[in-house]
Every structure is written in C-alpha cells, then in structure tokens.
C-alpha cells in the first residue's frame, strides 16, 4: 500500500521556479480585470439589463495563473462556463465577453446563438464547449491527439469544476489521453460545491487528483487561490506535455465567492460565515496584491492606476456592447450548415 508520501511523489510536486516581474504584474492586472468584469455583469443582470451572469469570483488565481503560464501561440483552450478570467488571460477582450452577455450580433463567441459563458474565438484557439458538463475534456483529448499526429507542437488545456468530474467523460478523457501520452492538461477548479451539492456528496475521495493514478498520469494539487503556485504548476505540466511525457491532472483547491450563476441563491446551502471567511482571508486578488507589494512590485499608486485602467476598459466595453445591434432574425438559419440552405420547405 502506498504511503501518503509516495502518493504525493506519484502525484508530482507543485511547480517551482521564478516568474518574471512583468508577468507577475500582468497576472495581477488580469485578475483585477476579471473580478471587476464579473461583478459588473452580475450587476447588469440584477438591473435587468442582461439575462444571465456567470461569475468567476474566487477562481481568478487558477484561471489567470494557468493561462499565462501556457505557451500562447501553441495552446488550444477548451474552457468551461466559469472561465471568464481564463479567457481574458488568453486574449479575449472585455468587449468580446460583454457582447456575449448582451447576446449581440457581433458577439464573437456565438453571435447570440448559444448562452453566454460559452467562450470561443477561433483566432485565439479558444474552442466553444457544451452546456452539458464534461464534454470539453474528451474534445481536448482529441485535439491533443490531432496535435500529436500533425506534429504541430501544440498543447491543449481544458477546465472543469470538481462536480463535472463525476461524469463519464472525465474518466474517458483521462484514460484516452494517458493511453496515447497526449499533450493535454486537465485543470479541475475544485471550489467544493457543484451548485448546492458539496464535495462529500460528489465523491468519496478527498482529492480529485487522487484519481490520476488510476489512469496513469500525475495528479498535482495546487492552492488555487495562490496565483504564483498555479502559474508554476502549470508551467511544469506544460513542460511534461511538450516533452512527450503525456497529460497531467491539475487540481486547484479554491472557492466560489459568488453565486453559481445569477439564477442561484447560494445562501441556502453554504454557511454565510464560510463565504465571509474565504472572502476575508483567502480572496486570491488581494492576496496576490499583498505578495506583489511585499516584493516591491506594486504600491498604492500602481494599484490605483490598474483599478482606473480596468474601470475604463469595462465602462467602454459596456457602452459599446449596449449600442451594438441585436442579431437579425432574418439570418436565423445561418450557420446551421456550412452552406446556408434550409432543409426542406420553410413555413
């Protein structure tokens, strides 16, 4: 029987090394942008202006830390609905995202066809995913297989919540990826709840990462509220993937600071004190700010400048999205098929 130390070794240690100062600041600014945009979208929903918001509050460190550790030009991204911060870090703009929440014609993700939060931009290799949880993992494994066959030098990364790992697709994706030693990272953002269902009702193991051993890949656990640790763990996993050593399961322990979506009232299933504690003591955004301050990389003026830039970017995105046109119902059949023909008789 493996000792816990042996198991930890099998799992692989969380990453080490240094991050360039410039990158550290970029991580921080992107985290702030994500938080403020997520908050703004929830406000817009509460005001009845957009139909739905899907907050990422609390998940910024793992999302931005992992994204900025990826080799951008060579990365194929399969996000999930909570990946607002990640897709900003991968290059989508606040306007791209806000257009989606307004369901506007020029929404680059879907043009008003799919729900918001299903991020997609072909030119950035951010690939749309399903509302049905888990399916993106098998797609990411397939994309990594294609990259391997085509010797494109690409690496795939995909994201999911811990609840989603109960679906068969999670297991099937990891198994397939491990058999073929595919260049893919599976990032699990374990925020301890799947809507209202706590971890203990989702799985009997303490860590999602423990399952990695059963498929034959390292399972790495990282503090998902520590941006630096998330960055470094991702960088190590990418190195493995690009060296041909196969996939990694990266579990980030974190906490959702906002409701599941704007449709959710989270007060009924989580103690208010629990939410308050995470906000007070473990919020990844002020935590990383404190780290940067301690290192002399950030001061009060720097923080204020970032806050001002972020506010201006979000105000601008919101104003422009608001003024942009709705989809045209005359184009409703485009693009169901590659050619815009309607099958059969129209009504």
């Amino acid at each position: 029987m493996a000792t816990s130390a042996a198991r930890a070794a099998e799992r692989g240690a969380a990453g080490s090394g240094e991050i360039p100062a410039e990158t550290q600041l970029r991580i921080y600014e992107t985290m702030v942008l994500a938080r403020r945009l997520s908050e703004r979208l929830l406000q817009l929903q509460r005001a009845g202006i957009v139909p739905l918001a899907v907050p990422c509050d609390g998940h910024e460190a793992i999302q931005v830390g992992s994204a900025l550790a990826m080799p951008r030009e060579r990365t194929i991204v399969y996000p999930y609905y909570r990946s607002l911060a990640a897709v900003l870090a991968y290059g989508m703009t606040p306007l791209d995202l806000v257009l989606g929440f307004y369901a506007k014609r020029d929404d680059p993700s879907t043009g008003g066809h799919q729900m918001p939060g299903h991020y997609s931009r072909r030119d950035l290799n951010i690939v749309t995913t399903s509302s049905v949880v888990g399916t993106q993992l098998v797609h990411a494994a397939g994309a990594a297989y294609a990259a391997k066959v085509r010797k494109s030098g690409q690496v795939a990364i995909t994201y999911i919540g811990e609840g989603g790992t109960s679906e068969g697709d999670f297991h099937e994706a990891l198994n397939f990826a491990a058999i073929h030693k595919l260049p893919v990272l599976f990032v699990v953002e374990n925020n301890q709840y799947a809507i209202s269902v706590p971890l203990t009702k989702q799985m009997a193991v303490a860590n999602v990462a423990d399952r990695a051993a059963a498929y034959g890949m390292p399972g790495v656990i990282v503090d998902g509220n520590d941006a630096e640790a998330c960055y470094l763990a991702t960088r190590d996993a990418v190195a493995r993937a690009l060296a041909g050593d196969g996939p990694t399961l990266l579990e980030a322990k974190t906490y959702r600071l906002a409701p599941h979506t704007s449709d959710d009232d989270d007060r009924g299933y989580r103690p208010l004190e629990e939410i308050a504690m995470w906000r007070r003591e473990r919020d990844p955004v002020p935590r990383f700010a404190a780290t940067l301050e301690a290192r002399g990389l950030l001061d009060e003026a720097g923080t204020a400048a970032i806050a001002a830039r972020v506010r201006a970017a979000i105000d601008d995105a919101t104003a422009r999205a608001e003024a942009s046109p709705d989809p045209d119902p005359a184009d409703i059949h485009i693009p169901v098929f590659s050619t815009p023909e309607v099958p059969g008789r129209t009504q």
Binding site: P51, H113, V132, E167, G168, I195, D263, V336
Partner: protein, 328 residues
C-alpha cells in the same frame, strides 16, 4: 377548488405518493437541501430524509441506471433530470435498458421508474437546455410518454406515473412552473392515453400538447372574437399511449386540422397526428392537414431569435386560414 401553481401541484403529487408508499424515492442533482433548481422538491428532504431524497453526483447515466436497478428490486424511483436535455447522457439506460427489460426478460423484470423534469423552451436558455423530446422518447416501445400542461393534469398524471408498473417519461412544461390552475384537494388520478378537449369548437381542430396548448387557446380566442371562427383545441396530454379517438372524432366534426409542435417539422409529433387523421378521417377532410413547427435551427439564445424559432400565434392563425381557405 384551490388554485395551485404547476410547480406546487407537482410537489403535492410527489409528497402524497411518498407519504402513501414508502418505496417511492427521489433521485437527482440538487434536489435535497436546494429543493431542486426549479424548487419542485422543496421541503421533501426535511420531510422524508436523505435515504429517500437522494442528491446525486453529476452523472445522469449513472444515477438513472442506479434508479433502474432500484426499480428492479422493489423501489419506485422518481428521477429528476435537471432538464430533459441532460437525459441524452442517460439515454442508453432509458432506451436500451428501462424500455426493454420487461420484454427481454420475458416479463420477469419490470422497471416502475418515473423520469421527470422540465422540457421544451421559452425561458431563454438556448438549444442545449431547450429540446422538446416527446417525439424522441415516444418512438420507443416500452416507454410511456406524457406531457401535461395544466396543474390539474400534472398532479393527476404524476400519481398515475408513479403507480404505473412501466417506465414513464414525464415531460414537464418548464416555462410554466409558475402558472396557476385549479387542483382538487382530494386524491384523483388522470389516466394516460386520453387527450383532453381544452376548448370546444366546430370550425377547425387545433392539436398540440405541453406549452403550445396555451398558444392554441390564445389563437382560438382570437379566431372567435376577431373572425367568429370556432376552433376546437385538443391537448394530447399523453404521447404514448396516443389517443387517436379524440383527434379523429374532432376532425370528423370540424373537417379541418392544424397540428402544432415546438419541435422541428421532420419526424415530429405533428406528423404522427397528420398521419392518423389521413388514415382514419380522410373522407372527412376539407383541406390538407397543416403543421406548424419550430424553425429548423438549434434553439438560439438571443430573445428575438428565440421568439422567431418557436411557433407564434400568427403562424397558427395563418395555418388555420389556409385550412379554412380564408387566406389573404
């Protein structure tokens, strides 16, 4: 008679059956403390305990299969699909197992399971949350498929469903959970396989089920007040077993029919309605049967696109005009 919402009528049915029959258990995602994402099971965990109200992992194939196992061994599980759209992940268990076990075991094993949840669109959640699956599940022998629209029927049919010895696909009108209607306090059941004449008329028969029945009632009201056309509205309620008699009797009276469905035109329930009418009432028809269906696209998200994707009052009125030769 007291008025209840569709949601509360459903909950009342579950509560009464659970109180009456200890073998009834509920399974689904977020149905415990949360009371279900549509609040159908609110309060049931407190009342009946965690052994009978089971919060499942997010694994539709797994918990539906487990429920089938429970049903084989004497329990009566009622499985909640957070939306019917997620049942595709459980469709092997439903279609390949639940629907076939009685037949393939030579009658030795029955599967008294109910699978329920919101079905259809109208709440701006786009295609992967919007499918209307009557025709899909109605296709397979071994499954009973119902789609009630009134609070009265939803309660009465849920009691019938739970007591039924075979698997029941219970498709709720998700957009109508908040709508009200009269529901008696005393116990009653509504049988499967009996359509309901929701409004009587002599000039044209309008046929649908689920949420679209309300659309037909609005259309019938407009036809009556604006044009003095008396439309008869038939609510199928039950897709399998399918009540041919009520449709045929109505068309023999009106000689004209429009079948309406939220689904797509090809291979839909409306096609079945049209086929039954031409088989059994051909000589009575004064015009070809018309179908009104959803647009041939995955249901889109943007409000204006979503509205364009589902049957509208005007489309149904136009179809009625065509069968009445009142065009233009």
């Amino acid at each position: 008679m007291p008025e209840l919402t569709y949601r509360n009528a459903l909950r009342a049915a579950l509560t009464e059956e659970m109180a009456r029959d200890e073998s009834v258990v509920l399974l689904g995602e977020d149905i415990g403390v949360y009371g279900g994402t549509h609040l159908i099971t609110q309060g049931l965990l407190d009342r009946f305990g965690a052994k009978r109200v089971i919060d499942t992992p997010i694994a539709e194939g797994g918990f539906t299969g487990a429920a089938i196992g429970m049903a084989m061994l004497g329990l009566r599980p009622v499985v909640e699909m957070m939306t019917w759209n997620f049942s595709f992940l459980a469709s092997d268990q439903i279609i390949q197992n639940a629907a076939k076990l009685r037949y393939f075991s030579g009658g030795q094993v029955g599967v008294p399971i109910v699978i329920r949840g919101p079905n259809g669109g109208g709440v701006q959640l786009s295609a992967q949350h919007t499918h209307s699956l009557e025709n899909l599940y109605g296709h397979f022998p071994g499954l009973k498929v119902v789609s009630p629209v009134t609070p009265y029927d939803v309660k009465g049919m849920m009691l019938t469903a739970i007591r039924d010895p075979d698997p029941v696909i219970f498709l709720e009108a998700g957009a109508l959970y908040g709508t009200k209607g009269e529901v008696p306090e005393e116990e009653y059941t509504v049988p499967f396989g009996k359509a309901r004449v929701a409004r009587e008329g002599k000039d044209v028969t309008l046929i649908s089920y689920g949420r679209q029945v309300n659309l037909l009632l609005r259309v019938a009201e407009r036809l009556a007040t604006e044009e003095d056309v008396q439309a008869e509205v038939i609510d199928l309620r039950s897709i399998r077993p399918f009540d041919e008699e009520t449709i045929v009797a109505s068309v023999k009276k009106t000689n004209r029919a429009v079948a309406v469905q939220e689904q797509w035109r090809f291979f839909g329930v409306a096609s079945e309605v049209a086929a039954v009418i031409q088989e059994r009432a051909f000589d009575y028809l004064d015009a070809p049967v018309e179908r009104v269906s959803g647009a041939e696209v995955p249901a889109p998200y943007a409000r204006n696109l979503e509205e364009a994707a589902f049957p509208s009052e005007q489309q149904v009125i136009d179809a009625a005009h065509r069968v009445l030769y009142r065009e233009g």
